[in-house]
């Protein structure tokens, strides 16, 4: 049997520590990453989403109608952000994802409640995300038993167990609350982000590490030509991945698909912008780090918030505002809205406008930064 040498183990250990200390980014990752993730996700993640945005169309401007809205807000689950003039406008809001709840109060609401007639409030809930939809419907369902009770005295007061009005709940877009309808399109966003950012994050560092950068720079190829030439093959990779995920989403999970050619076109624009945006981000990382290992670490550092702060795992509207602000900067947040909006809500180009613009702005900013970082020399 060979003798186990403690001295040799120590020798290897000391060497590892020395190399670890030299690699500044790894060093920083070991210390900074857990700390940042703990603070970031510890405070941001909330499985009991509150302050979800809602809109109310009140055809009745009586005291009782106001009382219903006030009660809704008191729950702290719902923030009534908009008071649109028409149902049509409110429909657009819920389709675009500006609100998760659309409440319609009928014209004779106060009158009928006071008279003791049965009356109904219509609550339309965006059920794309079953978690958020659950929170909204719980808040709405409790409404009749709390709202307006103290406003009703004397003859209008009801016996216990008989609410003064009913809430009719319509769950839109994913009425059965099927989780996979929400998660599978989200997975497309995650899969594209992870593979594309990681693959291209090594594009430049690989050439530098292997020494081939020196030959490449000695050729007349410009940094822009090199960047485009390196990224285009991965656009094809992204498109193939998208096709595979969408086919499986349809075949295995029966996820609804876009219903029209215009819908597919809108989705395709979003997909292409998202793919190129991710590739550009990976390329930017590649120009910032010195080794392929560091590129992997920085990519991982990006993947974590894109899972938690984008609306993939937890309802975006339920995150604290500062976390939503971080989410808004990431392309995946916008792409999640586009892909879910297209497949589940039948969104068209017009509905996706702000998110498409955000993806475009991200792409331009990252590409400009990357080109500023790329050089024709080894300096």
């Amino acid at each position: 049997m060979k003798r186990l040498s403690l001295a040799r183990i120590v020798a290897v250990m000391v060497k590892e520590f020395t190399q670890l200390r030299r690699d500044r980014i790894t060093y920083a990752m070991i210390l900074v990453m857990p700390l940042m993730q703990l603070l970031l996700f510890g405070y941001a993640i909330n499985t009991d989403p509150r302050h979800l945005p809602a809109a109310v169309v009140a055809h009745d401007h009586g005291r009782l109608a106001d009382a219903v809205v006030a009660t809704l807000e008191r729950t702290s689950y719902i923030d009534v952000r908009y008071l649109p003039a028409s149902e049509g406008e409110m429909d657009r809001m819920i389709r675009r994802g500006d609100i998760l709840l659309a409440l319609t109060i009928p014209p004779d609401f106060s009158q009928r409640v006071l008279k003791g007639d049965r009356t109904q409030i219509l609550a339309e809930i965006d059920a794309t995300d079953p978690i958020a939809a659950g929170a909204v419907s719980a808040a709405v369902a409790a409404l009749p038993s709390y709202a307006v009770q103290q406003d009703l005295r004397g003859p209008a007061a009801r016996p216990a167990g008989s609410p003064p009005f009913e809430v009719v709940v319509h769950r839109l877009y994913n009425p059965e609350g099927i989780t996979s309808y929400n998660i599978v399109p989200g997975l497309l966003a995650i899969i594209l982000s992870m593979t594309l950012v990681m693959m291209t994050s090594m594009a430049v560092t690989r050439e530098v590490e292997r020494g081939t950068m020196e030959s490449l720079l000695a050729t007349p190829a410009t940094p822009f030509e090199v960047m485009i030439g390196k990224l285009l093959p991965y656009v094809a990779v992204g498109i193939i991945q998208t096709a595979v995920v969408l086919i499986l989403a349809r075949v295995l999970f029966s996820v609804p698909m876009a219903q029209s050619l215009a819908g597919w076109f809108a989705l395709s624009v979003g997909i292409v912008l998202f793919i190129i945006g991710n590739l550009a981000l990976g390329y930017l990382i590649s120009t910032l780090v010195r080794s392929q290992l560091q590129a992997m670490q920085v990519s991982m550092f990006y993947i974590m918030p894109s899972l938690f702060l984008s609306g993939f795992m937890f309802p975006f509207r339920g995150l604290p505002l500062w976390a939503q602000a971080i989410g808004e900067v990431m392309p995946i947040t916008h792409f999640l809205r586009i892909v879910r909006g297209s497949l589940l809500k039948g969104q068209m180009l017009g509905d996706m406008g702000p998110d498409l613009l955000a993806l475009g702005a991200f792409l331009i900013a990252v590409a400009a930064l990357t080109l500023a970082r790329s050089r024709t020399t080894l300096d």
Binding site: G211, T212, A218, P220, A221, T377, D379
Partner: protein, 311 residues
């Protein structure tokens, strides 16, 4: 004007620092068209940096001049199109075949009749039967052939070679140099850095770089005769001890053992004679010999560079 036309490289006052380390100091180089110029000097002297500055891979801190008749600071793209650069470390794609590598180079240079050019290069360099081999699987000599083929595929007017024959066997080195000379005969200008003295002697001109400065320029003969160096060779027993003792003697600039002989060099013939005289007894005999390039360069390396600036 005619003089300018024939200088492939004419650069003055080249400087480059990395941080506070001055790697290239006031280097001026003029290389005539069709000449092979060798760059010598110890490791870290600034040879690679100088080559990289000339082909636009590094931006100089200061310096001006022309490479292939073009301003080397502003027209790097145009210069790159007519310059071939062979890196010290193999820098082609190891996970691609020989043919794929050459095809890539041909495309990136936008060469017309690409297939013919690549096939021709494979044929000329004897790589034809290996064209489907991965570049990473090649031995040192074959990698070097491939690298040369890649650096010359676009028929450059200027070829920069950074220690092209490091780790290559003597036969392959000889073939390599024969190719370089054949290309120079066609008008190609070559700047090559090397550590091998026999290679230096194959160059038309030699430049010696030390500590970032180009301290000697000329042909091999000019450098040897201009050095004023005197060299004696002695043969006999106990070479190791004699060499060690001689190194410390007054008037001896360098002493080095070569098998059963010792070579001593110095600047002053009389002082050197006095130093070696005590060893001339018994079977031991001294003969004055012509200093070799190596003697001259060893002596240059061992003297502080300020000596040369003073001259």
């Amino acid at each position: 004007m005619t003089e300018r036309m024939t200088a492939a490289i004419d650069v003055k006052g080249l400087n480059k620092s990395f941080g506070d380390k001055r790697v290239v100091r006031d280097v001026s180089i003029r290389v005539e068209e069709g000449r092979i110029t060798g760059f010598l000097g110890p490791n870290g002297a600034g040879k690679t940096t100088t080559l990289r500055l000339l082909c636009g891979l590094l931006t100089p801190d200061s310096g001006e001049g022309r490479v292939l008749g073009m301003d080397f600071r502003t027209r790097t793209e145009a210069i790159k199109r007519e310059t071939g650069y062979m890196t010290q470390r193999f820098s082609l794609y190891e996970d691609m075949t020989i043919e794929e590598n050459l095809d890539f180079i041909a495309r990136v240079h936008e060469l017309p009749e690409r297939r013919e050019r690549v096939a021709g290069a494979l044929e000329r360099l004897g790589l034809h039967y290996r064209r489907d081999q991965l570049a990473g699987a090649l031995s040192g000599g074959w990698k070097q052939r491939l690298a040369l083929a890649a650096a010359t595929l676009h028929e450059p007017r200027l070829l920069l070679l950074d220690e092209p024959t490091a780790g290559v066997d003597p036969k392959a080195r000889r073939e390599f140099w024969d190719k370089i000379h054949a290309m120079a005969d066609q008008g190609l200008t070559v700047l090559v850095s090397t550590h091998y003295m026999d290679e230096a002697e194959r160059c038309h001109d030699i430049g010696y770089i030390l500590d970032g400065r180009l301290i000697v320029r000329g042909t091999a003969e000019e450098i040897v005769s201009g050095s004023g160096l005197v060299t004696f060779s002695g043969e006999g027993p106990d070479i190791g001890r004699i060499t060690r003792e001689l190194e410390k003697q007054e008037g001896v600039l360098s002493a080095s053992a070569f098998g059963t002989a010792v070579r001593v060099s110095g600047a002053d013939r009389d002082a050197l004679r006095r130093a070696i005289a005590p060893y001339e007894r018994g079977p031991f005999a001294w003969v004055e010999v012509t200093p070799s390039l190596e003697d001259v360069f060893i002596q240059l390396t061992s003297r502080p560079p300020d000596d040369w600036l003073a001259q």
